[in-house]
């Protein structure tokens, strides 16, 4: 048997000094049998053993232990009367003669049906135990068995306790044991981490547990702790409560309470789980899902091939579809209307193709085919490999906005047109009268007619300006672009300003640049802008000063500047200069005419033409306004047609 060798090793037999009971049994065995040596050997994992072996040398001990191991394999008592003449030797070799030892007797110890050791007596002489002695030995073996059994039970209980202790420390939930008055008995490592306290520092402290503060292990100095609730009433249920970390941070906790009896004292075990982060994440999630669910904006999620995966109630309301109806359908086929302008559709398609995010105002179709305007803000979501997984699009129904913008634009346009008709009659009549068609006018009437005429002109200007503003705002200003010479345009403007300048006693100076700059733009619109700048300059120029119209080129840009020698623009007014109806109070007080629309329109037109407008004004007076446009042949700004398109445009408009 292989374990025989094991049994021989002395270190397998720990003859425990503290197993007093086994020692006493060995003592009793020695005394009751009158033997020289007695041993209680236990060969199991408990390694318990006791004996009187002081007289044995190592070799003898080895022999005895070997005998023990033999005896333990015997069902009954094993008695060897003459050790010296015993010829049987166990396999593994045992041929030593042991002159000092005479006889041996061992009784097996049975624990739970297993022999785990023996009670052994050895005498120096050869002898045989009588019945009383063997019975004694057998009974002592039984006593040892009982002893070992209870020792095992105890050890097992201790092991369990140890394991419980280990679990107590290693478990990820915080465990806080308090007595019935809330004084901390012990807390585990997880609880230390959750609350940021050291177990040793807070033992014996009274916890705070109430609905306001939640669970606080250590109250701040001077803090009112409030009454502790009846812990018994908390037992059994899971409680979601707040709490406070040692650093003051608020905690979210899940807590269960168990009642235990600990060392004759009633105690409560609070098991807490830190749900602060989970709670925060859940709050954020519920916040987001609330927004997505409740918002009137549409949220539409499509997969990589534009099939609808999900939509929110906002989208359902706007589109008239339910999610179930449209899930899996192609958004482009289902929703897109042909009425969306081609360039917009193309731009969105290519953005999707290139996995870019995009913004677009499109016409989509409701359930039933009714069109609606939607402003989209869409973002691609790609996986780690950069593969497009889905598009999330946020949409606003802008049908009403589009409609009211159109209505407003139509209204202004209509009113302006309608205003022109009576104005035409009034101004025409007045002019005809002033012209003497109805006979010569008295001098006073002539003056009155001049005044009426002047106001007709300014009303006509206002109507024109309102129309321009309206069109710029509605974004419907169409440009009639063609190629033309800046020099010629400047000559023309100067010519048209001649009489006004003369009346104001302002000299006009024209400074051309060396080359003949050509641009591709709307000539009439540029004329309008430069005329506006010139008329402003003349209006603000004192008599006998000069207004200079200058042209310069730099790189790919041509600039036309209008410089006056007037008072300049006040510091306060500069930021508002290009705003609608912006008028400097100082100018207004001086009685100079104007509606504050000219520069606003000029800026709008320059933006539309892809040019720029700016100004300089020094404190010493004088103002310089400058507009610039890309020169013909330079890189056209985005949106302007290329040369091929130019010809087409000209042919179409009949201006070729």
């Amino acid at each position: 048997m292989s374990n025989k060798g094991d049994l021989r090793r002395p270190n397998r037999f720990v003859i425990s000094a503290d197993s007093g009971a086994l020692k006493r049994i060995a003592n009793l065995a020695q005394l009751s049998t009158g033997s020289d040596i007695a041993l209680v050997c236990v060969f199991d994992k408990f390694r318990a053993g006791a004996g009187l072996h002081d007289e044995l040398n190592n070799e003898e001990l080895e022999l005895v232990l070997t005998l023990c191991s033999r005896s333990v394999r015997h069902h009954e008592l094993l008695q060897i009367q003459d050790l010296r003449n015993t010829v049987e030797t166990p396999a593994g070799g045992w041929d030593k003669t042991m002159p000092s030892l005479g006889s041996f007797c061992g009784a097996p110890i049975w624990v739970s049906g297993v022999r785990i050791g023996t009670v052994v007596v050895v005498s120096n002489d050869k002898r045989r135990l009588d019945d009383y002695e063997t019975a004694m030995l057998t009974n002592l073996a039984q006593l040892a068995a009982d002893q070992i059994d209870s020792a095992r039970a105890l050890e097992s209980a201790q092991g369990k306790h140890f394991r419980a202790q280990q679990i107590f420390q290693e478990i990820s939930d915080g465990v806080i044991t308090v007595n019935e008055f809330g004084h901390i008995r012990r807390i585990n490592r997880a609880a230390e981490n959750i609350f940021g306290h050291n177990a040793d520092d807070i033992k014996g402290q009274r916890i705070t547990l109430n609905s306001q503060q939640g669970l606080v292990l250590v109250s701040s100095p001077g803090e009112k702790r409030g009454r502790l609730p009846n812990l018994k009433s908390l037992v059994g249920e899971r409680h979601t409560i707040g709490g406070r970390h040692a650093d003051g941070r608020a905690l979210a906790l899940d807590m269960t309470v168990a009642e235990v009896e600990l060392q004759d004292e009633l105690a409560y075990v609070l098991t807490v789980r830190d749900t602060t982060e989970l709670h925060a994440a859940q709050m954020l999630l519920s916040q987001h899902s609330f927004i997505v669910e409740k918002t009137e904006s549409a949220v539409l999620v499509t997969d990589s091939s534009q099939r609808i995966e999900w939509c929110n109630p906002g989208f359902e309301t706007i589109s008239g579809y339910t999610l179930a109806e449209i899930r899996g359908q192609c958004a482009v086929k289902l929703l897109w209307s042909e009425d969306t302008s081609k360039p917009v559709r193309k731009r969105v398609q290519s953005a999707i193709g290139e996995k870019h995010s995009y913004n677009a105002e499109m016409i989509w179709l409701r359930k039933g085919g009714q069109p609606f305007w939607i402003a989209l803000d869409a973002h691609p979501i790609c996986d780690v490999n950069g593969e497009l997984v889905k598009y999330v699009a946020l949409g606003f129904d802008i049908t009403e906005r589009k409609r009211s913008a159109q209505m407003k634009s139509d209204f202004v346009s209509m009113v302006s047109h309608e205003l022109r008709t009576p104005l035409t009659v009034i101004s025409g009549t007045i002019e005809a009268m002033a012209d003497g068609i109805a006979g010569p006018m008295p001098e006073l009437a002539d003056e009155l007619l001049t005044m009426a005429m002047r106001n007709c002109t300014s009303l006509a200007t206002l109507i024109e300006d309102l129309l321009d503003i309206n069109q710029l705002e509605a974004g419907v200003v169409k440009l009639n672009s063609r190629q033309f010479s800046i020099t010629e345009l400047m000559e023309e403007v100067k010519q048209s300003m001649h009489s006004i300048a003369e009346e104001a006693r302002v000299a006009l100076r024209l400074e051309h640049c060396d080359d003949e700059p050509m641009v591709f733009s709307d000539r009439d619109r540029l004329n309008q802008v430069v005329t506006n700048l010139m008329s402003n300059a003349i209006k603000f120029s004192p008599p006998d000063t000069t207004v200079t119209l200058r042209c310069t080129t730099q790189n790919d840009t041509v600039s036309i500047s209008v410089t006056d020698q007037g008072p300049g623009i006040t510091h306060e007014f500069r930021p508002k200069l290009f705003e609608m109806f912006a008028r400097d109070p100082a100018v207004e007080a001086s009685g100079k005419e104007g509606f504050g629309l000219g520069l606003c329109i000029s800026k709008g037109l320059m933006d539309r033409m892809g040019g720029e407008i700016g100004f300089e004004s020094s404190e010493d007076g004088g103002a310089r306004f400058c507009v610039s446009l890309p020169l013909l042949g330079s890189q056209p700004p985005t949106g302007t047609p290329t040369h091929q398109n130019v010809t087409d445009d000209l042919l179409e408009s009949g201006q070729a």
Binding site: H417, T421, T424, E431, A432, I437, C456, K478
Partner: protein, 142 residues
């Protein structure tokens, strides 16, 4: 319909024109006051004036009347609008050569371009100056 066919000069500034060679101008304008103002202006300079107030009447006129020397045309007209009239006039053999001065409240450059493409000779925006109208008119009268 046709409101006036020929009226003698009534103005205080009679222009020295041969009565037999009176120029004839057709006014097509739906606003009565503007129509009357234009008529007044022209007649004061000794021009024969015909005036109609809508596009349909104008079309009838084109079919059965001899061509005038100049046409003053509004664009926004009831029934048949000015641009359509422009094209109709340009297709009527006896009328096709007549200079047409469009007088309109439409002042956007692309709107003007549309009228020019439809066959307008001149374009005057409303509100107009009577002197300006007369100046343009003189250019095209025989």
């Amino acid at each position: 319909m046709v409101e006036a066919i020929a009226e003698r000069t009534t103005g205080t500034k009679p222009r020295t024109r041969d009565l037999d060679k009176l120029s004839r101008v057709l006014i097509i304008e739906d606003t009565p006051d503007i129509r009357n103002l234009l008529r007044f202006l022209l007649q004061s300079t000794g021009i024969q004036v015909m005036a109609v107030g809508d596009g349909k009447s104008a079309l009838e006129l084109i079919e059965c009347w001899p061509a005038p020397d100049v046409i003053l045309l509004d664009r926004m007209l009831p029934y048949v609008d000015g641009d359509e009239l422009l094209r109709a006039i340009r297709q009527e053999p006896t009328w096709a050569h007549v200079p047409i001065i469009v007088v309109s409240a439409k002042a956007q450059s692309e709107e003007i371009a549309e009228a020019m493409a439809a066959g307008a000779t001149e374009y005057i925006t409303k509100p107009f100056s009577p002197m300006h109208v007369m100046k343009i008119m003189e250019k095209h009268l025989p």
